[in-house]
């Protein structure tokens, strides 16, 4: 090979996007080898190629886009609702001792009743509907948001608040200029945890409540014994979380808390 070709090849392989894919390529290769060795029956242990074909088929039939859209929309709605309710409640608990004494026991109590534990009664109340799924999701997202926001508010250094006050900031300005940005590292942690738990709760709820969504697709595949679709669903779950991290959470962190030096950059 010519040196320039080698160089191009090296540049291509050294691309960050490919470096991120490197570990996965290894796993896929291993999977392909095990599948080709036919240690397990093909129907139980399909090869990567079969999963890819199933992906193409489900895409062309319009099933996969619709289900992914349903799941992601539900997650976005849950995250939005959890943010809108969780952050203000977290601020209230973090700022006011009275509301802390009132809300904290309630928050602790209801947090212990896990998302899935609500499903039986929700199925009686709302039936196998979207309301049930949304309830479970919002419920799951909201608690990490409350906890981390309250923690974030309390971890803003007192002197920073005092500095703002002695520069003439009103309580509302202190909230906007100091407490909210100061609590942001914890709020983002809360969002990350909330979305992570929410993603899992959503799939669980879709499996049980199921009318659409990735969870439903995976559980529905069990009826037809389609292991390919189950594996495809699992892969999609991971990929979608990867996308949420890379396109939403990481840029948010890089633009705020890392830029301000509140946390060290990850890499």
């Amino acid at each position: 090979m010519r040196p320039s070709l080698l160089r191009t090849l090296h540049l291509l392989l050294a691309h960050p996007a490919l470096q991120g894919a490197g570990p996965f390529l290894l796993v896929i290769a291993l999977w392909a080898v095990v599948a080709e060795l036919r240690i397990y029956p093909r129907a139980f242990f399909p090869s990567p190629g079969e999963v890819l074909l199933a992906f193409a088929a489900l895409m062309s039939k319009g099933i996969l886009p619709a289900y992914v859209q349903d799941s992601v929309t539900r997650l976005a709605v849950g995250a939005a609702a959890g943010t809108v309710v969780g952050i203000p409640l977290g601020f209230l608990i973090g700022l006011s001792p009275t509301s802390y004494r009132f809300f904290w026991p309630l928050v602790l109590f209801f947090q212990a009743i896990g998302d899935i534990a609500w499903l039986p009664i929700l199925l009686i109340w709302f039936g196998f509907t979207l309301t049930t799924v949304t309830f479970v999701l919002v419920y799951t997202v909201i608690f990490p948001m409350i906890f981390n926001t309250a923690l974030g508010v309390r971890s803003v250094p007192l002197e920073m608040i005092r500095a703002a006050q002695s520069l003439g900031a009103s309580p509302a300005r202190v909230l906007w200029e100091v407490l909210i940005p100061g609590a942001l590292p914890n709020i983002i942690t809360g969002l990350r945890n909330g979305l992570g738990y929410g993603w899992r709760a959503l799939i669980a709820a879709e499996i049980i409540v199921g009318t659409s969504g990735i969870g439903f697709m995976m559980f529905d595949a069990r009826r037809s014994g389609s292991v390919v679709e189950m594996i495809l669903g699992m892969i999609l779950l991971g990929l979608l979380w990867y996308a949420v991290d890379a396109w939403v959470l990481r840029p948010l962190e890089q633009a705020t808390v890392e830029r301000w030096g509140l946390v060290r950059p990850a890499s």
Partner: protein, 395 residues
């Protein structure tokens, strides 16, 4: 009454760990005239910071009162600017935004407050660092920002709480000279709290020496050293040396006050643009990864929607023209390129009643006319026919 008047100030607080009341400050009376530089000197834990916090309005006194230019102090306010030992800069604001903070709170328009802030940034010698964030500055530079932030707000009284205690010795000396220079230039009224004898003598016009807990005024010393004061001149000065020795005797402190260790200045990465002004927030957003990703997603989604719209027209060859009225329903045969599955039947049921399926089609009855296009927009729909025009199946 001009200046700061402290009358019979006492602070008693409850120490929950010791389970007892502690008298931090006892019966302190003090007057500071306008344009005066007064240092409060005392060993660690003598209540000097408590005293300053009461003057700043952060904590209420147990007894006594504090008046600033005749007004009673009840809480923190912009008439008293505070420089903290921990700097207390806002990490999410640039140097410029930090210095302009007080002016922003006063409601000054942006160009005006940035002009004033730049002036004070220059005064403390930080030109060129306007758009840096605090974590990209060394400790000494950060405290210059802290001083500029207070000066820019033009307070009636400047309170400094061991401001140079957490920077290294060389930086501390140059910061002290800077502060002396600024005071000689502008004569702000300063109440300066420190445990450092040399610092107090070097900077102040008067040094107030407090006793160890409870903090009472032990002595007030005039400092007759001429200005401008520079370390280079004073270190050899006999008056200065005698004063320092005298103050040491007065303090007779059994334990040497602990001095915080200087933290090394954090290495800034990535290196930020310093001199050039920031781009507007939306241009920064579009330049970010999130912004670019959103842009690509939105452009892609728009293209895709356009393509679906274009395809939808070709799937309904003209038959809609016959149904001029927007109301009414139609029975359709929805053709698919593959045998219909449960998903497709469930989806199509949202538009009408599914009366049957064929090998590559679904019979859909009573579809409202305005919704036919929605069906045509599904990319997995190959074509739509009125059921009357569809080939009849053998019974």
């Amino acid at each position: 009454m001009e200046g700061l008047v402290i009358r019979n100030l006492t602070k008693v607080y409850y120490d929950p760990y010791m389970g007892q009341h502690v008298v931090a400050v006892e019966d302190v009376s003090l007057t500071i005239g306008p344009g005066e530089f007064v240092a409060i000197l005392g060993p660690s834990g003598c209540g000097k910071t408590t005293l300053l916090n009461m003057v700043a309005g952060f904590i209420p006194p147990t007894q006594g009162e504090i008046l600033l230019n005749g007004r009673r102090i009840t809480g923190p306010g912009p008439d008293r600017g505070v420089v903290f030992q921990s700097f207390a800069l806002f990490p999410w604001k640039t140097v410029l935004e930090n210095v302009a903070f007080g002016l922003k709170m006063r409601g000054l328009p942006r160009p005006e407050r940035e002009r004033i802030a730049r002036e004070y940034i220059a005064l403390v010698g930080l030109e060129g660092s306007e758009y840096r964030y605090p974590h990209e500055l060394s400790g000494g530079m950060q405290q210059r920002v802290g001083v500029a932030r207070v000066l820019a707000n033009d307070p009636e009284l400047m309170l400094m709480d061991e401001p140079f205690a957490s920077v290294d010795a060389q930086t501390r000396m140059s910061l002290q000279e800077e502060l002396a220079r600024i005071w000689e230039l502008r004569h702000p009224t300063i109440l300066f709290v420190t445990h450092d004898v040399e610092e107090a003598v070097f900077l102040a016009n008067r040094v107030v020496i407090l006793t160890h807990r409870p903090g009472r005024v032990r002595t007030i010393l005039e400092v007759p050293l001429p200005r401008p004061r520079r370390w280079r001149d004073l270190l050899e000065d006999s008056t200065y040396k005698a004063l320092v020795a005298h103050v040491f005797d007065l303090l007779r402190s059994p334990q040497e006050p602990a001095r915080p260790v200087e933290k090394p200045a954090p290495i800034s990465h990535p290196p930020s643009r310093t001199g050039e002004p920031q781009r507007s927030w939306w241009r920064r957003f579009l330049g970010s990864r999130l912004g670019r990703a959103l842009l690509v997603v939105m452009l892609g989604a728009g293209t895709w929607q356009g393509w679906l719209e274009y395809q939808a027209r070709t799937k309904m060859p003209g038959f809609l023209e016959r149904y001029r009225s927007p109301r009414g329903t139609v029975d359709l045969l929805v053709e698919l390129p593959f045998p219909p599955e449960r998903f497709h039947i469930l989806t199509l049921q949202r538009f009408g009643r599914v009366s049957g399926t064929r090998e590559h089609a679904v019979e859909l009855r009573s579809v409202p006319l305005p919704r036919v296009r929605e069906i045509a927009r599904f990319y997995w729909v190959r074509g739509i026919l009125p059921l009357s025009e569809a080939p009849q199946l053998p019974p």
